[in-house]
Symmetry: C2
Subunit: 119 residues, 2 copies
DNA sequence: TTAGAATGATACGGCTCCGTAACGACTGAC
DNA sequence: GTCAGTCGTTACGGAGCCGTATCATTCTAA
């Protein structure tokens, strides 16, 4: 459970994980898209466009467009809030869950390799 | 020195760091650009366009364009190899060093916060 | 010296994303 | 019933990156 990274380790982890993601043929998500996706999957619902925009410090169209593209990839889903039909609730999907899980695996693996190299 | 991340910690670290980067007004680098930048700053020179392209598994124009844009930001520098003038050597810059250092700080800080939350 | 290989840069059309400004749908208070 | 306020979306022009194909320069070997 101990999480301690010195400067060199942090950079190597960041580099190695990004390299892995770039090499994969997966669809490359932008930093904003990653942040939105992980927010939806890590924090408790509900997630609205406005809420996400405020949290990320960006404008609403940025969120709408990110949801468009990630929705096209089936990573997230949109649904109108029945209790207030102005709101849109961002929901998780099976494919999104798998994607996030894979991302976690990659980071964990690179962190483990990090220690292996040092040892 | 211990680096052990479970799934939830890895995702939280990835999310929190990306959130911090998105919130910053900094120029957002793509995953490819990050990988190139960190490769140049972490691995021993020389770094050529072809070498970077092979390492990342992308085509040469991708590297050229990334160097164009990061050069515009003064994060890296290009120099002809005097011993073989076909080659271009990618060099570090002061501003790039500061940028990388800042990135490391962000990752380290988020990793530390990670433990603080768990404790 | 010259033909071939190798390097990085460029041209092109296409796609995605950006920020600002508008828009229609919906709610709630009067 | 109406109207101001809120929600998410769309429109628009502009900028950046993509992949493929091609280019000029440089080196190497016959």
């Amino acid at each position: 459970m101990a999480v301690e990274l010195n400067t060199a380790e942090a950079l190597k982890l960041w580099h190695d994980t990004h390299l892995e993601l770039v090499r994969d043929t997966e669809p490359d998500l932008s930093a904003r898209q990653v942040t939105i996706l992980l927010t939806v999957y890590l924090e408790p619902p509900p997630h609205t466009v406005r809420g996400l925009a405020t949290k990320l410090g960006v404008t609403k169209p940025v969120i709408t467009r990110a949801l468009d593209s990630m929705g096209r990839l089936n990573l997230v889903n949109r649904k109108r809030d029945p209790s207030d039909r102005r709101n849109v609730l961002v929901q998780r999907t099976v494919k999104g869950s798998l994607f996030v899980e894979r991302l976690a695996d990659t980071v964990c693996q690179r962190a483990a390799n990090l220690r292996a190299v040092i040892a």
